[in-house]
């Protein structure tokens, strides 16, 4: 190594008591704690704010007409999208098993049980293949469909149902199944009311 050594003396071993050594680290940790606490108090509110904004934005993207979103009591993770005070859609989380693992989605379902749109929160599908399920062209294939039409087919002429992504039938199925499950839940929820 060609480093410049200016404090060789520091390497000379000295005797220290156990407590001295321990305190040295404790102080270091305390200093660290102070720095982190300060940072945390500055950034945390911003982070919470940002997260909320993002969430709102995401929901807004799903249901463009809505002006307010409220959590639905008793249904964890659900939101109702309201326009002028009346509920026009529900936004529900759903998940299913895809090619590379669990796919988590947020589905916006209109009160009459049709898919408005969905948003993939997390997935581990192959880039360029399965992950096209998040793209607009595939979302378009699902939008507006009711539960009964949410079936994956591999026949390009069939416009009723969901045309599978080339080379990623498994992902297509998983996403479609996830969406359908959400639609069914909403139907049950609204029907039960």
């Amino acid at each position: 190594m060609s480093e410049t050594h200016d404090t060789h003396a520091a390497h000379v071993e000295k005797e220290y008591s156990i407590l001295q050594i321990a305190m040295n680290l404790t102080i270091a940790c305390l200093v660290s704690g102070i720095i982190l606490a300060t940072t945390y108090f500055i950034t945390h509110p911003i982070a919470v704010e940002k997260a909320k904004m993002l969430e709102e934005q995401a929901m807004k993207d799903l249901v463009a007409e809505a002006d307010t979103f409220n959590a639905v009591d008793g249904q964890e993770g659900w939101f109702s999208a309201e326009k002028g005070g009346s509920i026009i859609a529900y936004i529900v989380p759903s998940e299913s098993k895809g090619y590379g693992g669990t796919i988590k989605i947020m589905v916006a379902v209109s009160t009459d049980g049709k898919v408005i749109d969905y948003n993939i929160l997390s997935m581990n599908e192959t880039p360029g293949l399965g992950d096209s399920a998040a793209k607009d062209f595939f979302r378009d294939r699902i939008k507006g469909k009711a539960s009964d039409d949410l079936i994956v087919v591999k026949d390009p002429s069939n416009k009723e149902n969901v045309q599978a992504l080339t080379g990623a039938t498994i992902t297509s199925r998983a996403v479609t199944d996830g969406v359908r499950a959400a639609v069914d839940e909403v139907t049950e929820f609204t029907g039960g009311k």
Binding site: Y99, T126, L129, T166, G167, T169, I170
Partner: protein
């Protein structure tokens, strides 16, 4: 003629015994394997048409050219025409869909030769089967192209663009029988090669004949193909779709790339264990992984990966399984 032979050009030659050698050479072996594959390849060309031919030719040319270029660059002896690169190219082409865009095939060949073979030192030193590395690389690079098959007519006049294993994986066994019009029809199609699949994998009978030729010529040991195919047969039979012992071993043994893989690729001596016992372990392992992937995996077929995975175990097998040395306890 006298015994005066000391003129410079007639100096005696001195080397170490033995002075007589068997007649086989590496190059002869390679060309014989090519020969054994030829019938199945020709069948593929006839059955799938011009695209198959183009892919085979492109693959072989790319492989040989890549080998030539690398050897020039590495400044080592040029052995590009000894038949081994040719064989890698041919085998790669035989394991891919006839519909593959030829430029992708060429890239696969170059990957096989440059990355899998010469990065490790060239002939005889590669750890992984070059053709399969080429195929696996193509599979991850362009999965859609790799799983787009020819459109063929099945015996019951339905048109399908799926391979038997593909139908099995995505639609199930009954659909498969329906497509082919019954079990015996299915077997016949598999045996004669009247089915969809990679260029060279379809015709079971020609592949087996080619394999037997190699066994007869003592180029491959019968143990690897027999044990590997049998393992797949047994496992797919035991772990059937409707509980134990409900599988269709005959179908699985002839479907997909198992026959060509077991006879021509698992037997690649460079990447298989060197002892017979080791080869049997290798074959059992490959058979097990093939069955596992076919029955439980994300892909319809697992021959390629099973061979690659066993390739990485080969050094360990060779380390553990050695012949007993004369006069030692073991």
């Amino acid at each position: 003629m006298s015994t005066q032979i000391n003129a410079a050009e007639t100096l005696l030659s001195v080397s170490t015994a033995p002075y007589i050698k068997s007649e086989d050479t590496v190059s002869k072996i390679m060309w014989k394997v090519n020969l054994a594959l030829a019938p199945a390849a020709i069948f593929g060309v006839i059955y799938f048409g011009v695209p198959a031919l183009i892919n085979i030719v492109v693959s072989i040319i790319a492989a040989v050219a890549a080998e030539y270029a690398v050897q020039k660059i590495r400044k080592v002896r040029i052995t590009a025409f000894d038949g081994s690169a040719f064989l890698t190219g041919l085998l790669l082409a035989m394991c891919i869909s006839p519909e593959m865009p030829p430029y992708m095939t060429a890239i696969g060949s170059v990957i096989a030769i440059v990355i899998a073979k010469h990065s490790m030192g060239g002939l005889g030193q590669n750890i992984f089967n070059p053709a399969h590395i080429g195929r696996a690389a193509l599979m991850v690079s362009w999965p859609i192209a790799m799983t787009t098959w020819s459109t063929i007519k099945t015996p019951v006049d339905a048109v399908t663009s799926a391979t038997p294993l593909g139908i099995l994986k995505l639609q199930g066994y009954s659909e498969l029988l329906e497509t082919f019009g019954g079990r015996s029809e299915l077997y016949k199609a598999l045996f004669l090669g009247m089915r969809n699949g990679s260029i060279g994998e379809t015709c079971t009978v020609l592949l087996v004949l080619g394999g037997l030729f190699l066994v007869w010529k003592k180029i491959i040991n019968w143990q690897i193909p027999v044990v590997m195919i049998a393992t797949v047969g047994i496992l797919t039979w035991v772990f059937g779709p409707e509980g134990f012992f409900t599988g269709d071993p005959v179908f699985h043994m002839m479907a997909g790339g198992l026959i060509i893989g077991a006879f021509f690729m698992a037997t690649d001596m460079v990447t298989a264990p060197i002892t017979k016992k080791g080869q049997i372990v290798f074959a059992i392992g490959a058979g097990m992984i093939t069955s596992l992937i076919r029955l439980k995996g994300g892909y319809p077929e697992g021959v390629c990966y099973s061979i690659l995975l066993m390739n990485c175990v080969t050094p360990l097998i060779d380390l553990v399984i050695k012949p007993r040395i004369y006069g030692t306890g073991r």
